[in-house]
Symmetry: D2
Subunit: 258 residues, 4 copies
């Protein structure tokens, strides 16, 4: 059977007149859009626009919930209790479902943003709080979780659909964690190198650490970025490289997950 993989990207991160990212370019490349919901970024108009474009492009949509911190763009850790955090996520899921009605679409996945993602990857209580919000509202929503993280554990425990996520443009340590951005070279920029790593990751179901260690790892979804023109170029190279290698690039909704 042909290999398959999903490409996802963060979307809808404008706020009023403030613009971020090239959503239109990415929508031609990815299969699934993770849409900001007004807490770390995004506003109702922006959400509406992205939802309508995703519909046109056949891209599936998901919630990209973040902390209530527009100033910090959701990148600052906020020490919330897990009950507050759960309802904050539920609120954002609902809000996007409201906007998705304009396109007659369903919200089919969730991927936490920024610090909320980092904290959920490390802390099972936070990962479970997010999962409970998903399960309460719609138990079919796919939890997009960093492969090997506490989010993966939470999705399994709560019996939520799970997509294990990998990163195209980041080095990994020998233990399978992402190499800290503080280490020089931790973030890759060369489209050719990024493409080759990703194709190997998917074809051989392994991640090669920065020391050359080969870690078996099945990746369902690869995260690409659109904040800079070079990121869009790399995302395009990844898509083409995967297709050239015979990999099917699909929306999350068409993936065989498990």
């Amino acid at each position: 059977m042909a290999k398959q993989v999903n490409l996802n990207a963060d979307m809808g991160e404008c706020f009023g007149v403030f613009k971020i990212g090239d959503d239109d370019a990415l929508l031609d490349i990815i299969g699934s859009a993770s849409i900001a919901c007004g807490f770390h970024a995004g506003d109702p108009n922006t959400m509406h626009k992205v939802v309508m474009r995703a519909k046109e492009k056949g891209v599936s949509i998901g919630v990209h919930p973040g902390f209530n911190d527009l100033w910090g763009f959701g990148r600052r850790r906020i020490d919330m209790n897990t009950r507050d955090l759960e309802y904050m996520v539920a609120y954002q899921i609902g809000a996007l479902q409201g906007m998705a009605a304009y396109a007659g679409m369903k919200v089919t996945h969730l991927k936490p943003h920024g610090s909320l993602n980092n904290m959920a990857a490390e802390d099972i209580e936070i990962a479970l709080a997010i999962g409970r919000a998903m399960k309460t509202i719609d138990r079919k929503i796919i939890y997009v979780a960093l492969a090997g993280s506490e989010m993966e554990a939470a999705a399994i425990k709560l019996e939520l659909p799970l997509a294990r996520e990998g990163f195209c443009d980041r080095l990994y340590d020998d233990d399978g964690n992402l190499t800290s951005r503080k280490i020089p070279g931790a973030v890759l920029h060369d489209p050719e190198e990024i493409k080759n790593r990703v194709v190997n990751m998917v074809l051989n179901e392994e991640i090669v650490s920065r020391n050359g260690k080969r870690l078996p790892r099945k990746i369902d979804s690869l995260c690409v970025h659109g904040d800079e023109p070079t990121a869009v170029t790399a995302a395009r190279a990844v898509r083409r490289g995967l297709e050239a290698a015979g990999v099917k690039v699909l929306p999350l909704t068409e993936m065989k997950l498990g």
Copy 2:
């Protein structure tokens, strides 16, 4: 057939540690709760709490959307374009639907808050924008509209379920509009007087203006308040007075609307 009427109140208008209103007292009196959704007031925790309590008390729930103005509590007119306004309302409907999932409840009505209500009562374009958001998300949501206002016209035009609203504690002018709060005596405080006016309003399907003019007007839902202890006392008197007069006090979801 016995007369019937709904009592509604604004709810969930706390924000974090900031408390407003006596939601628990009102939930024993009213049939339908209009729940703030985080824009003029309210936060995910508060929304969750009100939804769970409403479920326990058999009170139906609705959206109480407001302007994005916590500082002004949604009472300041903001000159938004109608497209922005429509999506802002859709966002708030969705957010409450998300929280309602915790109680397994449906969101069954919408009543705009503060200045958004005042502006929609006067301006058909705003009233229609709100209605389009409702219709897009769930065409069964009941539009709670000041009787005789542009919101009523919008609900009829969009073929949305309509509940005509009356006010227990406000004087009316001869033309059926509410007497301005700037006129002394425009707001009633005496529970006995309020009760008597309301019972007459429902039994005789008429409003008596401050000059004694009798205006035929069928009221489906009466707005009560809980901001002050006296308001709760008056709300309780209204409920008892209506029941003593043989009027059935029902949730909006059990009303025969038309």
Copy 3:
């Protein structure tokens, strides 16, 4: 005596990761920067950065207060009472003074932003409320007021220093008001045309309306923009044109006003 004029521009309108405008380019052109203070745009980091750059470039600094509406970028009219509005402006003046201490600079002018500017130009009560905030905090702050507007009247009444403002890239009606942006051609884009109009405006102390009517009008400060690359080009052309015509382009603090 040589003619003199000030060039001013709005600055510091980023918010966290969200970027707007090319402040660095404009700081080489203008004499005075009007700095957003965190209400319609701007944050403490951005304010700090602009203040430090203005110091380096010899550009004087002023407050650019706006409504508390980041989502609407201060462009939506909000119906505040004048007392609230006055204290809101005072707060923003103080906040910028705090940041200005890092450069050892004084805040020397104020120009309202967006809808607050439009409303103050038309409504003397709003114009006076802004002026009272200025006068309470520092009666030497220069009120940058659309020439002929209620802001000008307020500055005179409150005996505040006044700089009459003109627009480089806008047509005027015969009565001296700006031609509405809804009229085609109301906003000019050609740098050469803009430069010629401005040089005439300053040398001959007159504005020529779109119908060719010549209106005597002494302009102290000209507003330039930096939102688009073409705007920066036009601003540069204006500066060069004025200097070529022998006009001194000065910070507001070095102008002879009155």
Copy 4:
């Protein structure tokens, strides 16, 4: 020489229609008010009102800066970098100075709020960032610092005036830290007990830990609360007890510090 001490309280923590605390009652008891500045609570109107009342009552005023988190009332830790944090504090100092101009008053102290206080007490980098903001704007502002904390160290290092703070209604551990609120009995409620502890603390310049250990500690300022009626009663008892014991209760501005 007679002993002297200051009583301080948090003030101005309303936000729009949302009310918290009994500022008027406390202003008759305390010598110094720490005023919220619109980030964790407070708005320009509220700041104005508290400043004017403080003037009437002869109470000195200070900044009570908090995190930009109204929803969490500044009680959630936010992981900001120290540069952002410094400018955020500078902004709030400036904003209060702006409002203080209405009363012709100077801002004479600073006490961080909630989590910002907790973090600054533990982390010298945060404590120094706050101190740098103070020193840049006005090097005479008194740093109100938990006795023995990193804030105390920062004030000394930056050569800022320092007031060592003690708590009236909290138990202390043997090492001089506050007993965690999670330990039963950590917060005292009995006015008589509170008063006796405080009088001993001031007269004998010692803190008695919950195990009875006597720790020498000179306290310049005691924190009282006004969130609940019982807190106001306790604050009043403290004031009377101190005066009965011959202690002078003074504004920070009249204290001999150092």
